[in-house]
Amino acid sequence: MFDSLSDRFDGIFTRLRGRGKLTEKDIDEVAREIRLALLEADVNVRVVKSFVGRIKERANGAEVAKSLSPAQQVIKIVHEELVTTLGGAAGKLTMNSRPPTVILLAGLQGSGKTTAAAKLARFLERDGKRVLLVGADLQRPAAVEQLRVLGERVGVPVASIGTDPVAVARAGIEEAQRLGRNVVIVDTAGRLQIDTELMDELRAIRDAVDPDDSLLVVDAMTGQEAVNVAEAFAETIDLTGIVLTKLDGDARGGAALSVKEVTGRPIMFAGVGEKLEDFEPFYPDRMASRILGMGDVLTLIEKAEAAFDADQAAVATEKLRTGDFTLQDFLEQMRQMRKMGPLQNLVAMLPGVPKELRNADVDERELGRIEAIICSMTAEERQRPSIIDGSRRIRIAQGSGTSTQDVNALLKQFKQVSQMMKQFSKVNKKGKRRMTGLPPGLDPGLLGGAGGPGGRPTG
């Protein structure tokens, strides 16, 4: 539905190929595409204006580096500018030298404050802090109950003593002192930034607990409204940082840029999943890649390191290269890979994968079926698929609950792809080729042309 910036640029830059320098007219045209891409990513209209202005300034007259095409050059500029804007001052929580440290969470209804509170508590506990959660959302039915359940899951006590939010927050601090907890996270009710009564209440809570950090929780799917919300909350409680939630969806998350630009406060954390451990520090360059619809190599690296056994992977790579990669290896590696999350997300993180592939609809159950098929083969069949004849096929199909066509398709596809991969990994081994394009051995017909410009330079 939405073209990434790199896709958008393809058209323009085929015309510009071979030119040493971008003219002002070229830049105008490019700026328009950048504007569209940012708007589609939900960056606020006014933020887009100033941002595109800065890009134009930088791009104007910029010499095109020898190693980069004009398209890559501009994308690099945009990417750098995005990283600068999103990053800037390091986002670290202030730890009070006289505990307890108080962290106040605020935001609109449904932005994910309660979940973020529990996730943050878990995050800090693992960092050696002793956290107390304070449920000051007395507005939404069962909100405190929700916090209690989540607190139990992450092993953090929850306090909610009193009948008005300000008293509850104040009592929470006392409770923390009594229990000897050194961090207090105060979860507040969701409120609209134009609701003066509730905003006054929020200010009263702030005054009562004197937080070391006041974090605004923002849904990554928020549109233009993000600016109004951020402005109002920043004005009311002097925000020190932002938590961006629901980043595991497919929203481009332009709201991040808007909020950062308007408040000047760092985005500190990102919520990236349903589980309580799906919470991580915010990485500006990853977000920049995401807004632009580019690959995300760094996240891929991290996930790979967590999920794969390096030695095994090295052996498997060697096998791929020599063409000895068997169905057994495939099965083992696939199981490890599935630990890294849905296959589609992984492929989306690879730079240079054409959008036809990136946007392909992937049903994870298919992987399960493939696993079942391989599991229904004998050890010998997995080593030497060529021995699989008609009756073996029927047995495998029955054993895995699939059809013989499925078995055939898998065998055929496996053979073809392992051929391709053999070629690709050879090139990689030899030339230390950067992962900026598709493996040269891949069938261009299948993939719909060459890949887009690459991600960041590795190393």
Binding site: L39, L108, V149, D250, V297, L300, L343, M435
Partner: protein, 385 residues
């Protein structure tokens, strides 16, 4: 570092390899799915000149109105009994925030000839309302045509814009009522991403229908979010209606199944199923939703509405949400929540344009009464003013 690089190269190759091995199967399955979908639901053609939806009749007496007979009366008639001053409310609520927007269209109000700057301003206003680039361009074209036809000056642009938006919305959907089964319990299924207000909306709907004299049952099929069932149960308690719930972390299918049984046994008119929030990118959760729908469909004709709940502050991702939820469970309408803030919810314009799914209700706050029928003219006025 070189180790890491090698590992990543391997994973990359491998992920691609695995992907390419599985891809032909996805494509095949998807095509098969698409083929069945195409035969099932042809896109509704846009009527050229649709009639304006008839304004709901407004009884003068508050108590005298008899409960509407089940099955016959669409919800349209209901709200008037309780909230006689409805049309004013959206304007009132939104009125608080007029200033920011008026500033934008302020230049237009100054009058004078329409120039490029006027169009830029118009475009910016629509983009700021989350209407999105594609629909914004279409709307601006429409306004241009209107302006050319009437020879209007800049002062008239806001009015032309309002007319254009109203007409577009009226074109996509003439029926914005909520439907009831002719016989036996009706089921409405609430779906949407996390935090849009499904549970609150379920409760508000229950309140409206209870006020209409229907027997309502709330089904707490959100077994995932901690205390979600408690939240719904507290609402049910306040409203005085029945609730069916399962174990936390249990099977939502079982809850729906039990709710259907209970509805039939207790001679219930309406079951409102509150589901867990799910991002449309999670294949297994979307499959779970399809399963819930199949369980409801075991009783033919019961499932009358599948309502996508959408937060008014959602940006362009709302389009993707609509597409994905429509693909999984054939949504019949949209509920636009939290419109009492400064968010304009303009993405629903794009959603109606692209998918023809009508917005049926608008949520205006956390109170049980803050749910009103969607009115294109009201919405357009709120977007433009």
């Amino acid at each position: 570092m070189s180790d890491t690089l090698a590992l990543v190269v391997f994973v990359a190759i491998f992920a691609l390899a695995a992907f390419l091995i599985v891809l032909p199967r996805f494509v095949r399955n998807r095509e098969a799915k698409r083929a069945t979908a195409a035969t099932r639901a042809p896109a509704p053609p846009r009527p050229v000149a649709p009639p304006r939806p008839v304004a709901p009749p407004r009884p003068t007496s508050e108590t005298g109105a008899p409960p509407a007979p089940v099955g016959e009366a669409p919800v349209e008639e209901a709200p008037a009994e309780e909230v006689p001053a409805e049309p004013v409310r959206l304007r009132d609520r939104i009125g608080k925030t007029r200033a920011s927007f008026a500033g934008l269209l302020g230049a237009l109000r100054r009058g004078g000839k329409i120039d490029d700057e006027s169009w830029d301003e118009l475009e910016e206003a629509l983009l700021l309302a989350d209407v999105g680039m594609t629909t914004t361009e279409a709307v601006v074209e429409g306004v241009k045509a209107r302006a050319a036809a009437t020879g209007a000056d800049a002062e008239a642009l806001p009015a032309l814009l309002r007319d254009e938006i109203t007409e577009r919305l009226e074109c996509t959907a003439t029926d914005r009522s909520l439907h009831h089964a002719l016989d036996g319990p009706t089921v409405w299924l609430m779906v949407g991403v996390n935090g849009v207000g499904k549970t609150t909306t379920s409760a508000k709907l229950a309140k409206r229908e209870l006020a209409d004299g229907r027997r309502v049952l709330l089904a707490a099929a959100d077994t995932f979010r901690a205390a979600a069932a408690d939240q719904l149960a507290m609402w049910a308690d306040r409203l005085g209606c029945a609730v069916v719930r399962g174990q936390d972390g249990g099977d939502p299918g079982a809850v729906v199944f039990d709710a259907m049984d209970a509805a039939i046994a207790r001679d219930t008119d309406l079951v409102i199923v509150d589901t867990a929030g799910r991002l449309h990118t999670k294949v297994n959760l979307m499959n779970e939703l399809e399963k819930l729908k199949r369980i409801i469909e075991r009783r033919p004709g019961a499932l009358q509405e599948v309502l996508l709940v959408l937060d008014a502050s959602t940006g362009q991702n709302g389009l993707v949400q609509a597409r994905e939820f429509a693909g999984a469970v054939d949504i019949t309408g949209v509920v636009l929540t939290k419109l009492d803030g400064t968010a304009k919810g303009g993405v629903v314009l794009a959603i109606e344009d692209e998918f023809g799914v009508p917005v049926k209700l608008v949520g205006l706050g956390e109170g049980a009464d803050d749910l009103i029928p969607f009115d294109p003219a009201e919405f357009a006025a709120a977007l433009v003013e």
